[in-house]
Symmetry: C2
Subunit: 195 residues, 2 copies
DNA sequence: TGCTGATGACTGAACCGCGGTTCATTCTAC
DNA sequence: GTAGAATGAACCGCGGTTCAGTCATCAGCA
C-alpha cells in the first residue's frame, strides 16, 4: 500500500527546497533528497513537478482559509474581525518563514496559480474579507457607500505587500508589528465617521 | 554600426511575446520572430534571455517613475498628489495592456526582480510615494503619528492588487474606475481628522 | 562612376547541457 | 511466493546559446 504520509512529507520537503532555491532552480531530485527518498518515488504521488507546487499551494491555502474562518467566527465585533484577520495573516507568515518565502515570492510564477489551479482557494480568502466588511456595513460600523470589492482587494493587497517587503528584506524585523498600523489605517479609511 | 533602435525593438517584441505566453513559455526564437530578426541577433544586444527581462523592466520602471515624478511636481496639494499617483498608476497600466500583463504577472518570477536587479527602480517609486506623504504631514494634512513606511507599502500594495485582479480578470472593466475609491479610502485612512 | 576589398552586422542550423520523466530492477511486508 | 512500493541510472526533448558563413555598406582608388 502507498504510504499515506508520503505526499505530505514531499510537500514539506518541497517547501524547504523552494524556499532555499526557488521553484525553477530546484530539481525534482533536490526535493527527493530533502525528503530522503528516490526521485522516481515522487512520481508515484505527483503527476509532474508543477503538480507539487499546485497541490502545495492548495493545501496550505485551504488550511489558511479554514483557520481564518474559525478565528473570525470567534469574534463578535466586525472591526475586531478585521484586526484579527490582519494579525493572523502576519502571524502565520512570520511563524512559517519557509512557507512565507514560497507564497510571497515563488508562487507568483506566471499565470499558473493566481489565474489557474488555485483561483478558487484565493477567492475563498477574498470572500472571507468581503463578508466581514458586509457585516460591518450591516452593523453600521462601515460606510454604507463603500466599494466593497475595491476595499477587499485593497486590504489584501496591503497585507500582501507588507508581507512581500518583509520577505524580500530578509525578515529583518517583526512582521506582526505592522499588524496594528495596517489595521488602523485601513479601518480609519472604511469606517463610518462619527463612531 | 549596430542599429541603435534594435534593443528597443527587441524589448517591445518581448513585451508582446511575454504577455501572450509568459516568460518561461517564450523561446528566444519567438521574440526574434516577433521582432522580425534572427535569434542570434538578439545576442548582439542582450547577454542572455534573463537580460532581456531585466532591461525591459528597468527601462519601463524608469520611464514610469520619471512620469510620476513629473506629474506629481505639477500638483500643489499633497492630497491631490496622492490622487494623481493612483490615477496615473491605473491609467498607465490600462493604456498598456501588454505591459500590464508582463508587469503584474510575469515579472514576479522568483527573486530575480524585486530582490535583484530592479530593487533600485522599485524603491524609487516607493520613495516618491513616501515623500508625498511626508509633505502631507508637514502641511498638517496627514496624521503626524502615521507609520510612513507602512502606509507607503499599503498604498502600493493596494494599487498593485487592484491592477493584478484586473489583469487576471481579463481586464473586463475599466481599471481607472477604481482610482477614485482607492484614493478616497486610503486618504480617509491617513489624513488628519478635522479637515 | 564603377569596381574592389574590408568591416562588421546579421543569420539560423547545430550544439550541448540540463533536468523532468520513465521503467527495468530491487526490496519489503505479509 | 507475491504484490506492489521504491529505486536511480539512463533517456530524451527542449531550448538557450554559439559561431562559421552570408550579406550590406562604404571608403579608397582608378
Amino acid at each position: 500500500m502507498r504510504d499515506p504520509d508520503k505526499p505530505q512529507a514531499i510537500i514539506d520537503a518541497a517547501i524547504r527546497v523552494f524556499a532555499r532555491n526557488g521553484y525553477y532552480n530546484s530539481r525534482v531530485s533536490d526535493i527527493a533528497r530533502e525528503a530522503g527518498i528516490a526521485s522516481g518515488t515522487i512520481y508515484l504521488y505527483f503527476k509532474t513537478k508543477d503538480d507539487i507546487l499546485v497541490r502545495l499551494f492548495r493545501e496550505k491555502m485551504a488550511e489558511w482559509v479554514a483557520l481564518v474562518r474559525k478565528e473570525v467566527a470567534a469574534e463578535r465585533d466586525p472591526l475586531a474581525k478585521i484586526r484579527k484577520i490582519v494579525a493572523l495573516h502576519f502571524r502565520v507568515l512570520q511563524e512559517n518563514p519557509d512557507l512565507a518565502e514560497v507564497v510571497q515570492v515563488e508562487l507568483r510564477q506566471g499565470n499558473k496559480f493566481f489565474r489557474g489551479a488555485s483561483a478558487h482557494e484565493v477567492s475563498a480568502y477574498f470572500d472571507v474579507i468581503q463578508s466581514v466588511l458586509e457585516e460591518g456595513v450591516a452593523a453600521g460600523r462601515v460606510r454604507r457607500d463603500l466599494a466593497l470589492k475595491v476595499a477587499t482587494k485593497m486590504l489584501f493587497g496591503a497585507m500582501d505587500q507588507l508581507a512581500t517587503s518583509w520577505v524580500l528584506g530578509k525578515r529583518a524585523y517583526r512582521l506582526t508589528d505592522a499588524a496594528e498600523p495596517v489595521a488602523s489605517i485601513f479601518l480609519k479609511g472604511v469606517t463610518t465617521d462619527g463612531v
